[in-house]
Structures are given as C-alpha cells and as structure tokens.
Amino acid sequence: MFYREAGQFKTTYEADSAKFPIFQDKVFIWLYLAIGFIAIPLFGSQFFLDAIMIPFLVLALAAVGLNILTGYTGQISLGTGAFMGVGAYACYKLTLAMPDVNIILLIVASGIFSALAGVFFGLPSLRIKGFYLVVTTLAAQFFLEWAFIRFPWLYNYNPSGAIEVPQREAFGVIVTGAAASSEARYLVVLSVVVIMTWFASNILSGRIGRSWMMIRDMDIAAELMGVRPLYAKLSAFAVSSFYCGVAGALMVFIWQGAAEVEIFDYNRSFQVLFMVILGGLGSLLGCFLGAAVIFIFPIVMHHALPPIWETLTPWTMNSSQADLVAAVIIGVMIVAFLILEPHGLARLWAIFKQKLRVWPFPY
C-alpha cells in the first residue's frame, strides 16, 4: 500500500541502475542515516553505544570485507581475524611514528598493510580453488597470529604483549584512548563504515565488481570473456583485506581500547564468516543483518536467558551456560539457513519487501 513503485517510471539508464531505484527506499535510507548520525548519539545510552553499536559496526565492516572475497568472488577465507590483526598492529605502529597525524587517516591507511598481506596469502588462489584455499587462508591465520606474538616490535616491547591505545585526536576531538567520549568514538566508526560501505557498493556495481562475480560464478567462462584471473582474484583479496584491516584497526582503537592477540584468533575469523553466511553471501545488507544477529543475539541471551530459564524450570543456569546455548542456536541457525535459504537474511528481507510491494494481494 505504502511501499509501491507504481507510477515511478525510469526514463534514463542512470535512474534504472541507481542503488535504490524505488523512491520509498531512498527515503528510508536517509531516515536510517539520520537515526544513525543524530538520534542514536543523542539518545543512546553509553552502554548501547559502547557495547552494542560500536562493536556491531566494526564487525559489520569486517563482514563487508569477507563478503567481498567469499560472497562476491567465491574464495573462502578463514584468515579474516589475522588480516584484521595486521590492520590493528599497522595502525598502532603508524600512530606511534606519527602521533600528530589525524588518527582516522591512519586507521584507513593501515588497511593498506593488511591489503598487502591479503595479496600475499591470496597468491595461491591463482592456482588452486575452493577447499585448498581454506588451507592457505588458515596458513595466513596461524602464521600471522604467531608473528604478532613473536615480534615484540609490533606491540612496542610492551611486557604484557598487548597493544595499549594512546590518546589521539581527529579534527580537534579526542577519539581514542580512555578520555574519548562514547559519542565521538561511535560517530567515527559510523562515518568510516558508512563511507566504506558506500564505496564497496559502488565498486561492486561496476566493472570490477562484475569481474569478481564472473570469477565466482564460472571462472573459466570469465577468463574466456577477457577477465584476467590474476587481477580479479588478487584485487578481491586486496580490497577484502583492506576492509578487514580497517575493521581491525577500529576494533582496537575505537572499540576495545587495548588488544591482545587473542582477539584476532581463528574464532574471530569464524565469527565474521558466520555473519556473512547468515546475513547472505553476496549481499552488503546481509553483512549488517548478519553482524547484528551474530553479535547481538549472544549478548541478549547472556543477560536474558538465565532468569527466563530459572523462572520456567526448577534448574539453575549461569550466564556462561547461556553463552553456550546461544552458540548452539547460532550453529543450528547457520545449518538451517544453508538448508532453507542459502542466501541468508538478506534474501528473507528481499522476499519481505516483495510481499510488501504487492500487499494486500498475495501476488
């Protein structure tokens, strides 16, 4: 009824290839951005910003990175955590070397280092496919994880082996370190994520994104249509790792404030992979939906499940058991989605919108 495209005719190819071809979608996207940039910082509690929104956005950005590689280019990676780590350590070294440079610039620049790491470990993808690639990306994961510990230079010989984020400013506002306000940090993350997602969607809808999808769908035909596998695959690895690297830098500098190697271990790689699977392979919207479910659902379970369980049953439950229940449910959800809707939440959303378009009629 309200969500109709009747009467909206496209008269140019430009209008027809727009990202949000339907007028209502355009309205909604601006509405979401207004909520994100104005309403949430104004009304959101500190807990909501620190413990929910910032981590959610950071992980969604990492999911965008992995989705570029896995969802759009068809190369499975289990090295996301390590590439995030490269970004974080690079950012740390950069800001120590150049303390006066705008930290946001350095966070983005650190993505270049993870992009290089991604290209290096992506090299085998030129000769191998599928499951073999899982092994080489795991090689990246374990080797880099080891390197983060073995080279004390990376964490500035800190005896605890951890990165401690120094206080840094951007545009005259403190955005990292203990003195930074939640609102400032949230706005930094949101800006970076929104801009980078916009760039990603541009790339994906152009020639380069199309060449990635060609490689994913039918690599031989892609090559016969003139796509050079070397460029296509390595550029996907580079862009994907760049995004993961920036996400890693944001994770340490804005979200956690300090970091040990453990936050980049292979569990992180799995967490991001799950976001991509559940959200929808080959969908940017899916990255955000997946991140929301995989990150926020366990938090809700952690706090809500034990009291509910204890009122309903005579047995007790502590919060770590609730975490395990949440993990089982996520595992079940992954399998169930793969069986019932391999394109994830994003497809469900698309189906819902389709229904909305024709509502109140069934077809």
């Binding site: 899982v134 795991l138 090689a139 992979l273 799950f274 699977i277 992954i334 391999p342």
Partner: protein, 319 residues
C-alpha cells in the same frame, strides 16, 4: 653469516652430536604424524563418499573423547562407555546425514562445507554444555591401555618411548588395515567405492546413498574416537585440541583429498617435519612456537608447486 650458520650448519652438528635427541624427536614426530593421519583419514572417507569437505572432523575427535570421558564419569564401566560412545557417534552420523546432508544434496560444495562449519559450532558448544568446558583426563588405565615408558640407550643418551605412543601407533595401523579390508573386500565397501566414483550411477544401480553416507560418517566417527583416545591420553580432553585437529587440513593438501595412502604419508611428513623443524630451526632462529603454523605454510608452499597433491591426479578441465 651467523644466520646462514644457524640454518645450514648448526642443526646438523646438533643432530650428529646428540643422536638420542634426534631419535626422540623423530619418534615424537612419528606419533604426532600417526594422529594427524587418523584425523585426515576421517576427512578422506567422508570426502570420497559424499564429496563433503567435513570441517567438523577435528571436532568429532574432541567430541568423541569428551563423550567417552563424560559417560565414564557417570560411573559406567570403561568398555561399556566405549560402546555407548560408538552409539553416540552412530546417532550423530545418522542425524547429520538425515538432517544436514540430505536436504543439501546437489547444493554447491561451498554450502555443504559451511554447513559442516555450523556443525562444528554446534558440537563445540553442545559438548561443553553437556559435559562442561574444563579439561578432563582421559581414562587411559581404565581402558587397559599401557601407561609406562621404556628407555633405550643411544650414543650416550636415552630415548624414551611412552608405551601409550607405541600402542597408538599399533592401533592406528590396525585401524587403517581394518578399514582397507572393509572397503576393499565387503559389499558395503564396493558400494562405497561406487558412490565415490559417481553418485548418479551408483544410485541407478540401486545403492542407497543415504545408507552409504551413514556408514562413512560412522566410520569417520570410529576413527575420530580412536584418535581422540590416543590424543587425550597424551594431553587431556579439551577443546584446545580443535586447533591441533585443524592440522589435518594441510595433511590433506599434501596427500590429496581422496587418497588414503596420501593421508597417511602426508600425516607422517607433517608430524615429523614440524617436530624436527621446531627443534632445530624454529626454536633457535624464529623464537619457537613454529608448530602452530609449520604444517600450514608447508601446505601453502606445496600448493604453489603441485596443486593436485602428492597422489592426486592432474585435473583436466572441461567446458
């Protein structure tokens, strides 16, 4: 210069000067290699029969050991506990095939692979939920496995052989031989090889895919239980083992995804390689801890040189 010396001269001097150390390392590498081989074998069985790259194989090892210890902790006799665990593994095989694999027939491989990652998550969290997450001791003695050790004097030093390691090697050999006989001499084995060759053709001559898959998943479960007992006897039953179990993947890369001899030889190469490398090069030059990545980096280098594996056939792509 110093570095070249550390790479090319010193390790060999040490090997020559302390032969007992070398032998000890080789033995430990061999034992670790047998276990990698066993886990890889579980992968190969399932991959051959169903084309599924079962990421959960490593977790099945931990899960099986956990169930065994958990059931025994309830006061059940050790051997009965083994039987119950086998029952649980059979149930797991049936559930996985019925609930996960069957609905996903004809889906792209990557989807099936991801489903097994989901399964991994379920097994990890589910196992901890039921049996608790803290490390547990394996019931080695109760199972009648030897626990002592023997010394052997070599060149002025001694090499220690843990009896459990010897038992592990022997049992692994028996298990592999048993599987070889099962798959080569029995009707089910023949059906399995038919399925491995061509699903459709096998279906058309009346072989039940579902049944064959259950058999291989169960066989992989048996292999997992064996590997789990042996492994946990050396350390503990804990989910930290899952990281170690991932090393079966590089083993597969070396040996090829469908080759049983490949899995065995690949496992031994990785096991021996990482122990020797860590002792003579890793700990001296790289500051140790190289066992975490050695297998994966070797696999990566190997893939660049020979993508089809040691025993795999070169694939001719058709279009």
């Amino acid at each position: 210069m110093e570095l070249l010396n550390q790479i090319f001269i010193e390790p060999f001097q040490t090997m020559y000067a302390l032969p007992d150390l070398l032998l000890q390392t080789l033995w430990e590498g061999f034992v670790a290699g047998t276990l990698y081989s066993l886990i890889a074998l579980g992968f190969v069985l399932i991959f051959k029969a169903s084309g599924v790259f079962n990421f959960a194989q490593g977790i099945m090892v931990v899960f099986a050991a956990l169930v065994l210890v958990g059931v025994h902790a309830l006061g059940v006799n050790a051997y009965l506990a083994v039987l119950i665990t086998l029952g649980v593994m059979a149930l797991l095989a049936m559930t996985v095939v019925r609930v996960v694999l069957k609905p996903l027939v004809n889906q792209p491989d990557i989807i099936l692979f991801m489903a097994t990652i989901g399964l991994t998550y379920i097994l990890i969290a589910g196992g901890q939920l039921v049996f608790g997450g803290e490390p547990k001791a394996m019931i080695t003695e109760e199972l009648g496995l030897p626990t002592g050790s023997s010394d052997w004097e070599v060149g002025g030093g001694i090499v220690i052989f843990q009896h459990i390691d010897i038992a592990a090697a022997v049992i692994a050999v028996i298990l592999i031989a048993g599987l070889a006989i099962f798959f080569n001499k029995t009707r089910v084995g023949r059906a399995l090889r038919a399925v491995a060759d061509d699903h459709q053709a096998a279906l058309s001559v009346g072989i039940s895919l579902e049944y064959i898959w259950m058999v291989v998943w169960f066989a992989a479960g048996v292999v997992a239980l064996t590997a789990g007992i042996m492994w946990a006897a050396k350390s503990d039953v804990s989910f930290a083992l899952q990281v170690v179990a991932l090393k079966a993947l590089p083993v597969l890369v070396l040996g090829g995804f469908t080759s049983i001899p490949g899995a065995i030889i690949g496992g031994l190469i990785i096991g021996l390689g990482e122990k020797v490398f860590e002792l003579y090069w890793g700990s001296t030059i790289l500051g140790g801890g190289t066992e975490a990545w050695f297998a994966f980096i070797i696999a990566l280098l190997f893939l660049l040189y020979r993508p089809e594996g040691l025993f795999g056939e070169k694939l001719i792509e058709r279009i």
